[in-house]
């Protein structure tokens, strides 16, 4: 009862702390969404394509565009024991005229739909002819909507968007999946000096009884100039992904430091300020346990409200784009961070609780308190 009365009387003080926590929660959830969006935008096209195994040239350093598979290497891979099917995959980042402006787009060409196309479509259909493509649904606002025609610049080679997929961007650019021949034509259109491009990678499907990991090991034993990776490894071990994750880990550690610091210091100050009151309460019979429990209830209410308001602030932002990166509302992240911050908040009230437990009721007679 006394907990609520105190909070109602010091609305501004507690309101400020709730506001600060809400801001921190908003910032954490926003950064989390930014990190997830960045990684998905960089490698979503690899993670969500159909080939269970991808083979790069060692020269590619796990970067699809930098890899280049010569006919000799391709022949070796096609002959490997345990591969049920092999398909060429090509990728180039090209300038594209879309929605009235020029933008860089990743164009991915696949020879077989089961080896390099998006796993699922959310609208439309897969390309059935040259000059047709599937774009990521979030790029519709950039001129890559269903039914739109984008043109390679220069050259003007047209690609009509006939399908939409989800989370299939590459290199944080609008991404279009086309048939292999369309990719070759797009490359030749963009550069009149170009010769027929080599495939950047090969997509492999393991034969029955062979796991993707086994197939990867077999291909890697073939030739040191080849580097095979499972779909998941190709996405998570792509250049830049680890650096992005590490950078954001530093940010989250900072937040992990500031959240308990802010909450802990605030409640310590509040405890010191009401030292005389707490001493008097102890003198008239209030038990230490009751006072500590009141403190914890205050922490839970303040942090809980902060988390709720922060999540509400984050909700509309999670549907926006930051530059070329689409954000998404991630319930798991909200629940995880909410519980984490609540735990940090309660843990940080330990200093205040210790002060409360050290109150000496006899000091009420001399007007003392917690050292205030």
């Amino acid at each position: 009862m006394i907990v609520w009365k105190e909070m109602a009387r010091a609305k501004v003080r507690f309101g400020l702390l709730i506001g600060a926590i809400a801001l921190l929660v908003f910032l954490i959830l926003f950064q989390q969404a930014l990190r997830d969006g960045l990684i998905t935008s960089f490698t979503g096209a690899i993670e969500h394509q159909t080939a269970p195994v991808l083979v790069y040239s060692t020269d590619g350093r796990r970067n699809l565009q930098s890899s280049s598979i010569t006919p000799e290497l391709a022949a070796q891979v096609r002959a490997v024991d345990g591969a049920a099917a092999v398909g060429r995959i090509g990728q180039s980042t090209l300038s594209v005229r879309a929605g009235g402006s020029i933008t860089a787009a990743a164009v991915i060409g696949y020879e077989r739909r089961d080896l390099g196309a998006p796993q699922d479509l959310v609208a439309g259909r897969y390309p059935a002819a040259e000059g047709e493509g599937v774009a990521n649904e979030t790029d519709a606002s950039e001129g890559f909507g269903l039914g739109k025609v984008v043109r390679i610049a220069p050259g003007g080679y047209p690609i009509r968007i006939v399908g939409q997929s989800r989370d299939t961007n590459l290199q944080a650019s609008p991404t279009v999946f086309v048939r292999y021949g369309s990719w070759e034509q797009a490359v030749l259109a963009a550069n009149p000096d170009a010769r027929k491009p080599l495939p950047n990678a090969l997509g492999l499907r393991p034969a029955a009884g062979v796991s993707p990991d086994e197939l990867v090991a077999r291909v890697n034993r073939l030739n040191p100039e080849l580097e095979a990776l499972t779909r998941h490894d190709a996405a998570t071990k792509a250049p830049g992904v680890a650096q992005v994750s590490r950078s954001f880990l530093v940010i989250f550690l900072l937040y992990g430091l500031v959240v308990p610091l802010v909450i802990g210091l605030f409640f310590l100050i509040v405890t010191l300020q009401k030292a005389r009151t707490l001493t008097l309460l102890r003198a008239i019979g209030a038990r230490s346990r009751t006072l500590v429990w009141a403190l914890i209830v205050q922490v839970l209410v303040v942090v809980g409200l902060g988390i709720a308001i922060g999540t509400l602030l984050y909700l509309p932002v999670s549907f926006l784009r930051v530059g070329s990166i689409p954000l998404q509302f991630d319930t798991t992240a909200v629940v995880g961070w909410g519980l984490g911050i609540l735990a940090l908040g309660v843990a940080s009230s330990w200093f205040s609780a210790r002060r409360v437990l050290r109150i000496e009721p006899a000091e009420a007679l001399s007007g003392g308190g917690l050292g205030a």
């Binding site: 600060a20 910032l27 040239s57 060692t58 020269d59 590619g60 350093r61 930098s66 280049s68 010569t70 180039s92 980042t93 090209l94 300038s95 005229r97 020029i102 933008t103 860089a104 610049a153 220069p154 490359v187 030749l188 963009a190 550069n191 009149p192 000096d193 170009a194 010769r195 027929k196 491009p197 080599l198 040191p224 100039e225 580097e227 830049g240 950078s247 530093v250 940010i251 900072l254 937040y255 430091l257 500031v258 610091l261 802010v262 210091l265 605030f266 310590l268 100050i269 010191l272 300020q273 530059g323 007007g367 050292g371 205030a372």
Partner: protein
Amino acid sequence: MRLALREMRRQPGRFATAVALLTLIAMLLMLLGGLLDGLIQRSTGAIRAQPADLVVFSAASEHSFLRSRISPEIRARVAAVPGVTRVGGIGVSQLAARVPGNGPRDLVDVALFGYEEAPSGLPSPPAAGRAYADRVFEDQGVKKGDTLSLGPARTPVRVIGFVEDVSYSGAGTLWASPQTWRDVQDANRPGSSVGAGVFQALVVRTSGDASAVARRIDRATGGATVTVSRADAADAIGGVRQQRSVFNQIIGVTLVIAIVVVALFFALLTVERIGLYGMLKAIGARSRTLFGGVVVQAVVVALMAATIGSGFALLLDRTLPPGTIPYQLLPNRLIVSSIALVLAAVVGSAFSLRRVLRVDPASAIGRSS
């Protein structure tokens, strides 16, 4: 002020927590700043070294070397623009290189530039098949006289010397003649082959107002080009803007943390000293003097933290093995970080102002007695 400093001398333990926390923050600030500077330097060295006021790209390239093509006809039009004093072609191939003695999968990232106008630290272009190498390759086992095999075609390029601070997009660079660059590109990237006389971009020296010359160039080519300053061309390298933005954001959050830490620490200290302030006010001390003391203490705490943090940053710079993390300490970064920390401390301590102003000498005396 003397009272504030005397308190710090007599009770150093009371301020140790704040110094320790702010030192951690100072270290973090300088580490983040050093990482940002290292990343930017490693990405933009090749462009910063260009002997140019302007860089000309093709219009649809969005300032990307890899998507830009400048034909000999466009180059002739650029050269004829009033105010253009020198024009040089430039092109780059980003590949992996095999270093003699390294394992078959132990490759290094390479950006091979073909140039006409010598960048700073380089002579005129070497003979075909030879190149000057970025000094960073020395840490990867490359020696003068080594022949590197570039790309899947294993195009041989012999290293004939080294040059400093010319990295590009995080990779070490090789500097060769335009013909060597074309041969490498043609052999390894058939989809990005370039014809005779074609370059990816032009570097342009000007006389007079460079931005006016840039506008004249784009008009003269009928909009086929986009001409930008050398600094803008460096900024347009993939990832540079994003890295700067993300790191500056982290640095900003770190400074906010510093403000919050100082604010809460001095709020706590002020609460503990209410009685003392009341006594001082009762004997004639003004609120301004008392608050000035709080600010002085905050500044001293921040200066101590900045000094220890700078020592850490210098130590890291000296002891970090090359090639581990892209950390580079610039004197400006130390100065700016220290000033920012002191300002954050002043702002943070200002949150105690209201509390100091509200101290009532009469009640303070009553409480003490």
